[in-house]
Protein backbone atom coordinates (compact mmCIF):
# COMPACT_ATOMS: atom_id res chain seq x y z
CA UNK A 1 0.00 0.00 0.00
CA UNK A 2 1.35 3.39 -0.95
CA UNK A 3 2.04 6.07 1.60
CA UNK A 4 -0.87 8.11 0.22
CA UNK A 5 -3.26 5.19 0.46
CA UNK A 6 -2.30 4.52 4.08
CA UNK A 7 -2.85 8.15 5.06
CA UNK A 8 -6.16 8.38 3.19
CA UNK A 9 -7.41 5.25 4.91
CA UNK A 10 -6.36 6.53 8.31
CA UNK A 11 -8.28 9.78 7.74
CA UNK A 12 -11.39 7.88 6.67
CA UNK A 13 -11.23 5.57 9.67
CA UNK A 14 -10.86 8.55 11.98
CA UNK A 15 -13.51 10.81 10.47
CA UNK A 16 -16.18 8.25 9.64
CA UNK A 17 -15.58 6.03 12.65
CA UNK A 18 -15.51 2.90 10.48
CA UNK A 19 -13.43 -0.23 10.78
CA UNK A 20 -10.21 -0.28 8.77
CA UNK A 21 -11.27 -3.51 7.06
CA UNK A 22 -14.24 -1.71 5.50
CA UNK A 23 -12.03 0.90 3.85
CA UNK A 24 -11.41 -0.91 0.56
CA UNK A 25 -10.75 0.86 -2.77
CA UNK A 26 -14.24 0.23 -4.16
CA UNK A 27 -16.04 1.37 -0.99
CA UNK A 28 -18.32 4.36 -1.58
CA UNK A 29 -18.23 7.02 1.14
CA UNK A 30 -21.99 7.45 1.16
CA UNK A 31 -23.27 4.00 0.19
CA UNK A 32 -20.82 1.78 2.05
CA UNK A 33 -19.17 3.86 4.76
CA UNK A 34 -22.20 5.73 6.13
CA UNK A 35 -21.06 9.23 5.23
CA UNK A 36 -23.57 12.00 4.57
CA UNK A 37 -22.96 15.04 2.37
CA UNK A 38 -21.36 16.97 5.24
CA UNK A 39 -18.99 14.11 6.07
CA UNK A 40 -17.90 13.99 2.45
CA UNK A 41 -17.02 17.68 2.41
CA UNK A 42 -15.10 17.25 5.64
CA UNK A 43 -13.12 14.32 4.21
CA UNK A 44 -12.06 16.40 1.24
CA UNK A 45 -10.93 19.16 3.60
CA UNK A 46 -8.89 16.67 5.59
CA UNK A 47 -7.24 15.36 2.43
CA UNK A 48 -6.39 18.92 1.44
CA UNK A 49 -4.85 19.56 4.82
CA UNK A 50 -2.91 16.31 5.04
CA UNK A 51 -1.47 16.50 1.52
CA UNK A 52 -1.28 20.28 1.25
CA UNK A 53 -3.54 20.34 -1.79
CA UNK A 54 -6.44 22.35 -3.09
CA UNK A 55 -9.23 20.18 -4.46
CA UNK A 56 -11.72 22.40 -6.30
CA UNK A 57 -15.41 21.64 -5.77
CA UNK A 58 -15.97 20.34 -9.31
CA UNK A 59 -13.18 17.80 -8.84
CA UNK A 60 -14.25 16.95 -5.31
CA UNK A 61 -17.69 16.01 -6.62
CA UNK A 62 -16.10 13.26 -8.72
CA UNK A 63 -14.49 11.62 -5.68
CA UNK A 64 -17.00 9.20 -4.25
CA UNK A 65 -14.96 6.11 -3.37
CA UNK A 66 -11.81 5.35 -1.42
CA UNK A 67 -10.00 4.36 -4.61
CA UNK A 68 -10.98 7.57 -6.42
CA UNK A 69 -9.67 9.62 -3.52
CA UNK A 70 -6.35 7.80 -3.51
CA UNK A 71 -5.99 8.07 -7.28
CA UNK A 72 -6.81 11.77 -7.29
CA UNK A 73 -4.36 12.56 -4.53
CA UNK A 74 -1.58 10.40 -5.97
CA UNK A 75 -1.83 12.17 -9.31
CA UNK A 76 -2.02 15.57 -7.65
CA UNK A 77 1.00 15.16 -5.39
CA UNK A 78 3.29 13.78 -8.10
Amino acid sequence: MSDVAAKVKAIIVDKLGVDESEVVPEASFTNDLGADSLDTVELIMEFEKEFDLAIPDDEAEKISTVGEAIAHIESAVK
Binding site: G17, V18, S37, L38, V41, E42, M45, K49
Partner: protein, 413 residues
Protein backbone atom coordinates in the same frame (compact mmCIF):
# COMPACT_ATOMS: atom_id res chain seq x y z
CA UNK B 1 -60.78 26.46 25.77
CA UNK B 2 -60.30 24.28 28.80
CA UNK B 3 -56.65 24.03 29.70
CA UNK B 4 -55.17 20.62 30.40
CA UNK B 5 -53.12 19.73 33.45
CA UNK B 6 -49.40 19.14 32.98
CA UNK B 7 -47.23 16.90 35.13
CA UNK B 8 -43.57 15.94 35.23
CA UNK B 9 -43.00 12.24 34.63
CA UNK B 10 -39.27 12.00 33.99
CA UNK B 11 -36.09 13.88 34.89
CA UNK B 12 -32.40 13.70 34.05
CA UNK B 13 -29.27 15.75 34.57
CA UNK B 14 -25.53 16.12 34.20
CA UNK B 15 -24.21 19.09 36.14
CA UNK B 16 -21.30 20.08 38.37
CA UNK B 17 -22.86 18.29 41.35
CA UNK B 18 -23.48 14.96 39.66
CA UNK B 19 -24.13 12.98 36.51
CA UNK B 20 -27.47 11.63 37.71
CA UNK B 21 -30.51 13.07 39.45
CA UNK B 22 -29.79 11.09 42.59
CA UNK B 23 -26.19 12.25 42.88
CA UNK B 24 -27.30 15.83 42.22
CA UNK B 25 -29.89 15.73 44.98
CA UNK B 26 -27.53 14.14 47.53
CA UNK B 27 -25.00 16.91 46.96
CA UNK B 28 -27.63 19.66 47.01
CA UNK B 29 -28.88 18.43 50.38
CA UNK B 30 -25.38 18.19 51.79
CA UNK B 31 -24.41 21.66 50.56
CA UNK B 32 -21.51 20.59 48.35
CA UNK B 33 -19.77 23.09 46.06
CA UNK B 34 -19.20 22.01 42.47
CA UNK B 35 -16.38 24.52 41.94
CA UNK B 36 -12.73 23.79 41.29
CA UNK B 37 -9.77 24.82 39.12
CA UNK B 38 -10.60 24.79 35.40
CA UNK B 39 -9.51 21.58 33.68
CA UNK B 40 -11.12 22.06 30.24
CA UNK B 41 -8.37 24.42 29.07
CA UNK B 42 -5.26 26.13 30.37
CA UNK B 43 -6.74 29.00 32.36
CA UNK B 44 -3.45 30.25 33.81
CA UNK B 45 -3.60 33.49 31.81
CA UNK B 46 -7.24 34.16 32.65
CA UNK B 47 -8.45 36.50 35.35
CA UNK B 48 -10.73 33.73 36.67
CA UNK B 49 -9.11 30.30 36.81
CA UNK B 50 -11.92 28.20 38.30
CA UNK B 51 -15.43 27.13 37.38
CA UNK B 52 -18.11 24.57 38.16
CA UNK B 53 -17.36 21.90 35.59
CA UNK B 54 -19.18 18.66 34.89
CA UNK B 55 -16.92 15.86 36.15
CA UNK B 56 -16.13 12.48 34.58
CA UNK B 57 -18.60 12.94 31.75
CA UNK B 58 -18.62 10.02 29.33
CA UNK B 59 -20.48 10.92 26.12
CA UNK B 60 -20.20 7.32 24.93
CA UNK B 61 -22.87 6.35 27.45
CA UNK B 62 -25.30 8.32 25.29
CA UNK B 63 -23.84 8.81 21.81
CA UNK B 64 -22.26 6.54 19.25
CA UNK B 65 -18.47 6.91 19.10
CA UNK B 66 -18.42 8.20 15.54
CA UNK B 67 -21.08 10.81 16.36
CA UNK B 68 -19.28 12.42 19.31
CA UNK B 69 -17.04 14.75 17.31
CA UNK B 70 -20.02 16.04 15.34
CA UNK B 71 -21.65 17.42 18.48
CA UNK B 72 -20.61 20.38 20.55
CA UNK B 73 -20.42 19.67 24.27
CA UNK B 74 -23.72 21.48 24.92
CA UNK B 75 -25.42 18.98 22.60
CA UNK B 76 -23.65 16.04 24.24
CA UNK B 77 -24.97 17.21 27.61
CA UNK B 78 -28.47 17.44 26.09
CA UNK B 79 -28.23 13.87 24.83
CA UNK B 80 -27.23 12.75 28.33
CA UNK B 81 -29.96 14.45 30.34
CA UNK B 82 -32.73 13.69 27.83
CA UNK B 83 -31.75 10.00 27.65
CA UNK B 84 -31.92 9.79 31.44
CA UNK B 85 -35.28 11.59 31.55
CA UNK B 86 -36.85 9.43 28.84
CA UNK B 87 -35.66 6.27 30.55
CA UNK B 88 -36.87 7.58 33.91
CA UNK B 89 -40.32 8.31 32.47
CA UNK B 90 -40.80 4.64 31.60
CA UNK B 91 -42.03 5.70 28.16
CA UNK B 92 -42.36 2.86 25.69
CA UNK B 93 -40.76 4.34 22.57
CA UNK B 94 -42.29 1.59 20.44
CA UNK B 95 -45.82 2.45 21.49
CA UNK B 96 -45.78 6.22 21.81
CA UNK B 97 -47.23 8.33 19.00
CA UNK B 98 -44.16 10.35 17.99
CA UNK B 99 -46.35 12.92 16.24
CA UNK B 100 -47.68 13.94 19.67
CA UNK B 101 -44.29 14.29 21.39
CA UNK B 102 -42.28 17.50 21.03
CA UNK B 103 -38.91 18.84 22.08
CA UNK B 104 -38.64 22.41 23.36
CA UNK B 105 -35.11 23.07 24.53
CA UNK B 106 -33.27 26.04 26.05
CA UNK B 107 -29.71 27.16 25.33
CA UNK B 108 -28.32 30.60 26.04
CA UNK B 109 -25.32 30.51 23.72
CA UNK B 110 -25.02 27.15 21.98
CA UNK B 111 -21.77 25.86 20.50
CA UNK B 112 -19.40 28.51 21.74
CA UNK B 113 -16.34 26.23 21.72
CA UNK B 114 -17.14 25.07 18.19
CA UNK B 115 -17.41 28.69 17.08
CA UNK B 116 -14.10 29.55 18.69
CA UNK B 117 -12.23 26.53 17.27
CA UNK B 118 -13.56 26.96 13.77
CA UNK B 119 -12.83 30.67 13.56
CA UNK B 120 -9.33 30.01 14.89
CA UNK B 121 -8.75 27.21 12.35
CA UNK B 122 -10.06 29.41 9.54
CA UNK B 123 -7.77 32.26 10.54
CA UNK B 124 -4.68 30.19 11.16
CA UNK B 125 -4.81 26.90 9.27
CA UNK B 126 -7.15 26.63 6.35
CA UNK B 127 -9.19 28.89 4.09
CA UNK B 128 -12.40 26.96 4.80
CA UNK B 129 -14.86 26.30 7.57
CA UNK B 130 -15.83 22.74 8.43
CA UNK B 131 -19.19 21.71 6.98
CA UNK B 132 -20.16 20.93 10.58
CA UNK B 133 -19.38 24.45 11.78
CA UNK B 134 -22.89 25.85 11.40
CA UNK B 135 -25.00 22.80 12.35
CA UNK B 136 -22.75 22.03 15.32
CA UNK B 137 -22.74 25.58 16.65
CA UNK B 138 -26.33 26.80 16.27
CA UNK B 139 -28.15 26.98 19.60
CA UNK B 140 -31.20 25.06 18.38
CA UNK B 141 -29.32 21.97 17.22
CA UNK B 142 -29.53 20.04 20.49
CA UNK B 143 -33.34 19.98 20.45
CA UNK B 144 -33.36 19.04 16.79
CA UNK B 145 -30.97 16.15 17.30
CA UNK B 146 -32.91 14.81 20.29
CA UNK B 147 -36.06 14.70 18.15
CA UNK B 148 -34.17 12.87 15.39
CA UNK B 149 -32.80 10.29 17.83
CA UNK B 150 -36.23 9.39 19.20
CA UNK B 151 -38.57 10.19 16.29
CA UNK B 152 -40.45 12.91 18.18
CA UNK B 153 -42.26 14.89 15.47
CA UNK B 154 -44.27 17.26 17.68
CA UNK B 155 -43.46 20.97 18.24
CA UNK B 156 -39.71 21.50 18.09
CA UNK B 157 -37.73 24.64 18.75
CA UNK B 158 -35.25 26.24 21.12
CA UNK B 159 -35.67 29.32 23.27
CA UNK B 160 -32.76 31.74 23.60
CA UNK B 161 -32.98 34.29 26.42
CA UNK B 162 -29.53 34.07 28.01
CA UNK B 163 -29.79 32.79 31.57
CA UNK B 164 -33.59 32.52 31.39
CA UNK B 165 -33.50 30.29 28.27
CA UNK B 166 -34.46 26.95 29.75
CA UNK B 167 -37.15 28.43 32.00
CA UNK B 168 -38.73 29.91 28.89
CA UNK B 169 -38.45 26.50 27.22
CA UNK B 170 -40.21 24.74 30.09
CA UNK B 171 -42.96 27.37 30.21
CA UNK B 172 -43.49 27.01 26.45
CA UNK B 173 -43.59 23.22 26.77
CA UNK B 174 -46.12 23.58 29.59
CA UNK B 175 -48.32 25.91 27.54
CA UNK B 176 -48.09 23.71 24.46
CA UNK B 177 -49.38 20.67 26.37
CA UNK B 178 -51.93 22.77 28.25
CA UNK B 179 -53.39 23.87 24.91
CA UNK B 180 -53.52 20.31 23.63
CA UNK B 181 -50.83 20.71 20.97
CA UNK B 182 -48.85 17.72 22.26
CA UNK B 183 -49.18 14.89 24.78
CA UNK B 184 -45.59 15.00 25.93
CA UNK B 185 -42.68 17.36 25.52
CA UNK B 186 -39.01 16.77 26.28
CA UNK B 187 -37.82 20.06 27.70
CA UNK B 188 -35.06 21.65 29.75
CA UNK B 189 -31.76 23.07 28.61
CA UNK B 190 -28.05 22.66 28.23
CA UNK B 191 -24.98 24.86 28.10
CA UNK B 192 -21.23 24.38 27.77
CA UNK B 193 -19.63 27.76 28.33
CA UNK B 194 -16.63 26.75 30.42
CA UNK B 195 -14.14 27.49 27.68
CA UNK B 196 -11.74 30.28 26.79
CA UNK B 197 -14.32 32.47 25.09
CA UNK B 198 -16.91 31.96 27.82
CA UNK B 199 -14.60 32.67 30.73
CA UNK B 200 -12.71 35.53 29.08
CA UNK B 201 -15.93 37.06 27.75
CA UNK B 202 -17.63 37.15 31.13
CA UNK B 203 -14.37 38.23 32.76
CA UNK B 204 -14.27 41.29 30.52
CA UNK B 205 -17.71 42.18 31.78
CA UNK B 206 -16.43 41.85 35.37
CA UNK B 207 -19.25 39.38 35.87
CA UNK B 208 -17.25 36.45 37.27
CA UNK B 209 -15.89 35.90 40.74
CA UNK B 210 -12.10 36.12 40.81
CA UNK B 211 -11.64 34.31 44.12
CA UNK B 212 -8.94 32.03 42.64
CA UNK B 213 -7.50 31.16 46.04
CA UNK B 214 -10.76 29.62 47.24
CA UNK B 215 -13.04 28.45 44.39
CA UNK B 216 -15.40 26.49 46.62
CA UNK B 217 -16.54 29.56 48.54
CA UNK B 218 -16.58 31.87 45.51
CA UNK B 219 -20.28 31.49 44.72
CA UNK B 220 -21.74 33.19 47.77
CA UNK B 221 -25.14 34.65 46.87
CA UNK B 222 -26.40 37.38 49.21
CA UNK B 223 -23.14 37.46 51.17
CA UNK B 224 -21.61 40.89 51.71
CA UNK B 225 -18.31 39.83 50.08
CA UNK B 226 -19.75 38.24 46.93
CA UNK B 227 -17.75 39.25 43.87
CA UNK B 228 -19.49 37.76 40.85
CA UNK B 229 -20.89 34.50 39.59
CA UNK B 230 -19.07 31.21 39.04
CA UNK B 231 -19.50 29.95 35.50
CA UNK B 232 -20.86 26.42 35.18
CA UNK B 233 -22.02 23.93 32.56
CA UNK B 234 -24.33 20.99 32.16
CA UNK B 235 -27.92 20.14 31.47
CA UNK B 236 -31.23 19.06 32.96
CA UNK B 237 -34.20 17.54 31.15
CA UNK B 238 -37.84 16.99 32.00
CA UNK B 239 -40.60 14.96 30.47
CA UNK B 240 -43.68 17.14 30.67
CA UNK B 241 -46.85 15.17 30.09
CA UNK B 242 -50.55 15.82 29.88
CA UNK B 243 -52.05 14.53 33.11
CA UNK B 244 -54.58 12.04 31.67
CA UNK B 245 -51.92 10.69 29.31
CA UNK B 246 -49.59 10.12 32.26
CA UNK B 247 -52.29 8.43 34.33
CA UNK B 248 -53.39 6.19 31.48
CA UNK B 249 -49.91 4.73 31.08
CA UNK B 250 -49.38 4.47 34.83
CA UNK B 251 -46.46 6.92 34.88
CA UNK B 252 -44.91 8.07 38.12
CA UNK B 253 -45.47 11.77 38.73
CA UNK B 254 -42.81 13.99 40.29
CA UNK B 255 -44.80 17.20 40.52
CA UNK B 256 -47.27 19.31 38.61
CA UNK B 257 -46.33 22.36 36.56
CA UNK B 258 -48.79 24.91 37.88
CA UNK B 259 -47.89 28.07 36.00
CA UNK B 260 -45.31 30.27 34.36
CA UNK B 261 -44.61 33.97 34.08
CA UNK B 262 -42.52 36.02 31.69
CA UNK B 263 -41.53 39.69 31.70
CA UNK B 264 -38.90 42.10 30.41
CA UNK B 265 -36.91 44.56 32.49
CA UNK B 266 -36.82 47.20 29.74
CA UNK B 267 -33.93 48.72 31.63
CA UNK B 268 -30.34 47.84 30.65
CA UNK B 269 -28.35 45.46 28.46
CA UNK B 270 -26.82 43.56 31.37
CA UNK B 271 -27.67 45.27 34.68
CA UNK B 272 -30.88 44.40 36.51
CA UNK B 273 -33.42 47.09 37.29
CA UNK B 274 -32.25 48.11 40.80
CA UNK B 275 -35.84 48.30 42.02
CA UNK B 276 -36.56 44.79 40.75
CA UNK B 277 -39.58 45.90 38.75
CA UNK B 278 -39.30 43.30 36.00
CA UNK B 279 -38.41 40.63 38.56
CA UNK B 280 -41.40 41.49 40.71
CA UNK B 281 -43.68 41.52 37.69
CA UNK B 282 -42.58 38.10 36.48
CA UNK B 283 -43.34 36.52 39.85
CA UNK B 284 -46.73 38.23 39.89
CA UNK B 285 -47.58 36.90 36.42
CA UNK B 286 -46.44 33.42 37.41
CA UNK B 287 -48.66 33.35 40.50
CA UNK B 288 -51.61 34.65 38.49
CA UNK B 289 -51.03 32.04 35.81
CA UNK B 290 -51.03 29.31 38.46
CA UNK B 291 -54.16 30.79 40.02
CA UNK B 292 -52.57 31.02 43.46
CA UNK B 293 -51.99 33.72 46.06
CA UNK B 294 -48.56 34.80 47.31
CA UNK B 295 -49.36 33.13 50.66
CA UNK B 296 -49.61 29.73 48.91
CA UNK B 297 -45.90 29.70 48.07
CA UNK B 298 -43.48 27.96 50.43
CA UNK B 299 -40.17 28.02 48.58
CA UNK B 300 -38.41 30.21 46.03
CA UNK B 301 -35.37 28.92 44.19
CA UNK B 302 -34.00 32.34 43.32
CA UNK B 303 -31.83 33.48 40.45
CA UNK B 304 -29.29 34.74 43.06
CA UNK B 305 -26.11 34.61 41.01
CA UNK B 306 -23.70 36.08 43.59
CA UNK B 307 -23.24 39.29 41.63
CA UNK B 308 -23.18 42.59 43.53
CA UNK B 309 -26.24 44.18 41.86
CA UNK B 310 -28.45 41.22 41.03
CA UNK B 311 -28.50 39.93 44.59
CA UNK B 312 -29.85 43.24 45.84
CA UNK B 313 -32.59 43.67 43.24
CA UNK B 314 -34.12 40.18 43.55
CA UNK B 315 -34.87 40.28 47.33
CA UNK B 316 -36.49 43.69 46.79
CA UNK B 317 -38.66 42.16 44.08
CA UNK B 318 -39.64 39.29 46.37
CA UNK B 319 -40.76 41.72 49.08
CA UNK B 320 -42.65 43.76 46.51
CA UNK B 321 -44.51 40.68 45.23
CA UNK B 322 -45.05 38.77 48.46
CA UNK B 323 -45.43 41.54 51.04
CA UNK B 324 -45.27 40.22 54.61
CA UNK B 325 -45.42 36.64 53.38
CA UNK B 326 -41.89 37.19 52.00
CA UNK B 327 -40.57 36.64 55.52
CA UNK B 328 -42.30 33.28 55.83
CA UNK B 329 -40.86 31.93 52.59
CA UNK B 330 -37.91 29.61 52.40
CA UNK B 331 -35.51 31.03 49.81
CA UNK B 332 -32.34 29.54 48.44
CA UNK B 333 -29.88 30.02 45.63
CA UNK B 334 -28.61 26.62 44.59
CA UNK B 335 -26.11 28.49 42.38
CA UNK B 336 -24.05 28.67 45.56
CA UNK B 337 -23.36 24.98 44.85
CA UNK B 338 -23.87 24.42 41.12
CA UNK B 339 -22.47 27.73 39.93
CA UNK B 340 -24.28 29.48 37.11
CA UNK B 341 -25.22 27.20 34.20
CA UNK B 342 -26.32 30.18 32.05
CA UNK B 343 -28.96 28.93 29.61
CA UNK B 344 -29.30 25.66 31.53
CA UNK B 345 -29.72 27.38 34.91
CA UNK B 346 -33.51 27.32 34.80
CA UNK B 347 -33.52 23.60 34.07
CA UNK B 348 -31.16 22.51 36.85
CA UNK B 349 -32.84 24.88 39.29
CA UNK B 350 -36.31 23.78 38.26
CA UNK B 351 -35.11 20.26 38.97
CA UNK B 352 -33.83 21.35 42.39
CA UNK B 353 -37.26 22.87 43.10
CA UNK B 354 -39.09 19.68 42.15
CA UNK B 355 -36.77 17.54 44.25
CA UNK B 356 -37.25 19.95 47.16
CA UNK B 357 -41.02 19.53 46.87
CA UNK B 358 -40.77 15.76 46.60
CA UNK B 359 -38.43 15.34 49.54
CA UNK B 360 -39.80 18.17 51.72
CA UNK B 361 -36.30 19.57 52.03
CA UNK B 362 -35.14 23.07 51.10
CA UNK B 363 -31.59 22.92 49.73
CA UNK B 364 -29.30 25.55 51.25
CA UNK B 365 -27.59 28.72 50.05
CA UNK B 366 -24.06 27.75 51.02
CA UNK B 367 -21.06 30.02 51.60
CA UNK B 368 -22.74 32.55 53.82
CA UNK B 369 -20.25 34.32 56.04
CA UNK B 370 -21.33 37.95 56.44
CA UNK B 371 -24.73 39.62 56.13
CA UNK B 372 -25.04 42.36 53.55
CA UNK B 373 -26.64 45.44 55.14
CA UNK B 374 -28.28 46.22 51.78
CA UNK B 375 -30.25 42.94 51.85
CA UNK B 376 -33.20 42.52 54.22
CA UNK B 377 -31.89 40.10 56.87
CA UNK B 378 -35.43 39.08 57.88
CA UNK B 379 -35.70 37.06 54.68
CA UNK B 380 -34.87 33.37 55.17
CA UNK B 381 -32.20 32.46 52.62
CA UNK B 382 -31.66 28.97 54.11
CA UNK B 383 -28.04 29.86 54.65
CA UNK B 384 -25.47 27.08 54.87
CA UNK B 385 -27.74 24.20 55.89
CA UNK B 386 -30.70 22.45 54.25
CA UNK B 387 -33.99 22.69 56.06
CA UNK B 388 -36.95 20.35 56.34
CA UNK B 389 -40.16 21.93 55.19
CA UNK B 390 -43.35 20.73 53.61
CA UNK B 391 -43.57 22.49 50.24
CA UNK B 392 -46.85 22.71 48.39
CA UNK B 393 -45.84 25.35 45.86
CA UNK B 394 -42.30 26.23 44.80
CA UNK B 395 -41.29 28.88 42.31
CA UNK B 396 -38.06 29.14 40.33
CA UNK B 397 -36.77 32.49 39.06
CA UNK B 398 -34.34 33.10 36.22
CA UNK B 399 -33.24 36.41 34.74
CA UNK B 400 -31.16 36.82 31.59
CA UNK B 401 -28.98 39.51 30.04
CA UNK B 402 -31.26 41.63 27.93
CA UNK B 403 -33.69 41.85 30.84
CA UNK B 404 -35.46 38.55 30.12
CA UNK B 405 -37.28 37.27 33.20
CA UNK B 406 -39.03 33.92 33.53
CA UNK B 407 -40.55 32.20 36.55
CA UNK B 408 -41.99 28.71 36.91
CA UNK B 409 -44.48 27.50 39.52
CA UNK B 410 -44.34 23.84 40.59
CA UNK B 411 -46.96 22.16 42.72
CA UNK B 412 -46.67 19.11 44.95
CA UNK B 413 -48.52 16.17 43.43
Amino acid sequence: MELKRVVITGVGTVNPLGNSVQEYWENLKKGVSGAGPITHFDASKHVTQFACEVKNFDPLLYIDKKEVRKHDLFTQYAFASTAQAIEDSGLDLEKVDGDRVGVIWGAGIGGLQTFHEEVRAYSEERPRFSPFFIPKMIANIAGGLVSIKYGFRGPNYTTVSACASSTHAIIDAFNMIRMGKADMIVTGGSEAGVNEAGVAGFNSMRALSTRNDDPKTASRPFDKDRDGFVIAEGSAAFILEEYEHAVSRGAKIYAEVAGGGMSGDAFHMTAPDPDGRGASLVMKWALEDAGIKPEDVDYINVHGTSTPLGDIAEPKAIIKTFGDHAYKLSISSTKSMTGHLLGAAGAVEGLASILAIQNSIVPPTINHFTDDPEIDSKLDFTFNKAKEREIKFAISNTFGFGGHNATLVFKKF
